[in-house]
Subunit: 231 residues, 2 copies
């Protein structure tokens, strides 16, 4: 078995989601009663947000690489960053990392390709919706990504930071997010929504809404990781 | 700040409880918006249970020391094992560990002493209730520990292994556990109950029952750990 190392804490609620999903999926696939051995380095979310706010991408990459160094010394054979936003510096981090890293963006793109989805909405933090790191990977596969209207982006980002990350999941916010999905369906005929923030599947728990499928990036990332653990 | 390393996964649900409690308490004590950096090495619960079933305490100690080695290499300054049962080999592990370890038994004993409790029931796995590792520490402080009747021990152990560890928390089991508390109060006039299994506070969430206080060993352990992080 290959040992997985996880950069966690970005944010903590989604790290727990990864932790539970990895154990459940590993047990489902192995069916021998055993539990996976893996390592989590939980980092300081405040520091990550400060790097993002200051647009200090080199600082962000260095901080993630420090965490990866801990995982490597603990014996990780490969790693992942359990959050979407930090993937803004994924290429830089992956090229300097001593172990292979599984990208949540590439894993999600592969999942979209398998499902033959060609036109997808992208929900995430402002950094993710306004960044090019998702579009860059998806455009290579001919998949078009659409982001919400600017005021809807503000709504998602605000709710993400001030409710979801601190672990508040409100029915009202759920409705607000689904209304954005409906508007994008009506206006742009999207074929699905990428929940490109690992806290989003914690509030949008259904696999679809009004027949519009949701791509749960946490679930997709975990599936890729467990496949690698057992490869 | 001192870096904490945690041996987790024994079982996974209580590791999540530690994870959330450590972050919440750290944030409550620091109040500067930051999140703690710490490391979790999640180990194979099945392996731990096999060592216990085979009464292979040397194997258990070695396995825990392997995990501690990972934490040390990842940069942990001190550590803890996030479970009660493995504390059966705590003295051996702590004496061989390159970093100091915080014992859940000693932390709980200190908490009982502070609250001036002299006669306590001990709930946990069969290994914990039948072992001497709790009594040894508490007797030094003149605190008497009482274990449930043999058939009640069987009930607790069975529910622990087959429901709590896999994450099933049933109202019926909660009532069954509280009935044991009531019987021990009536028969032996206990002053409190040590929830000496880190899954027990996940089903007995109240701090007391019929005025009998519960000592939540997870909470006590986390308080000791966060105090050390910030010392």
């Amino acid at each position: 078995m290959k040992t997985l190392g996880i950069i966690g804490g970005l944010g903590p609620e989604s790290t727990i989601d990864y932790y539970q999903k990895i154990i459940a999926l590993y047990r489902e696939r192995t069916r021998n009663g055993s539990y996976p051995e893996f390592i989590v380095a939980s980092v300081n979310l405040r520091k990550g947000l400060d790097f993002m706010d200051a647009n200090d991408l080199a600082g962000m990459a260095d901080y993630l690489l420090q965490g990866i160094g801990k995982l490597v010394r603990a014996g990780a054979d490969f790693g992942l960053i359990s959050a979407n936003t930090p993937h803004i510096v994924f290429d830089d981090v992956a090229s300097k990392s001593p172990i292979p890293l599984i990208s949540i963006v590439e894993a999600t793109c592969a999942a979209a390709k398998t499902r033959n989805l060609k036109r997808l909405a992208l929900f995430g933090t402002a950094y993710t919706m306004q960044g090019t790191f998702y579009a860059k990977v998806f455009s290579r596969e001919g998949i078009e990504l659409l982001v919400p209207e600017p005021n809807d982006q503000d709504y998602i980002h605000d709710k993400y930071m001030n409710e979801l990350v601190p672990g508040k999941f409100l029915a009202e916010t759920r409705s607000g997010l689904l209304a954005i999905v409906d508007r994008m369906k009506a206006k742009s005929d999207i074929e699905g929504v990428i929940l490109a923030g690992t806290e989003l599947p914690l509030i949008l728990r259904d696999p679809a809404h009004n027949r519009i499928p949701f791509l749960n990036t946490t679930k997709i990332h975990v599936e890729a990781a467990v496949t690698e653990m057992l490869s």
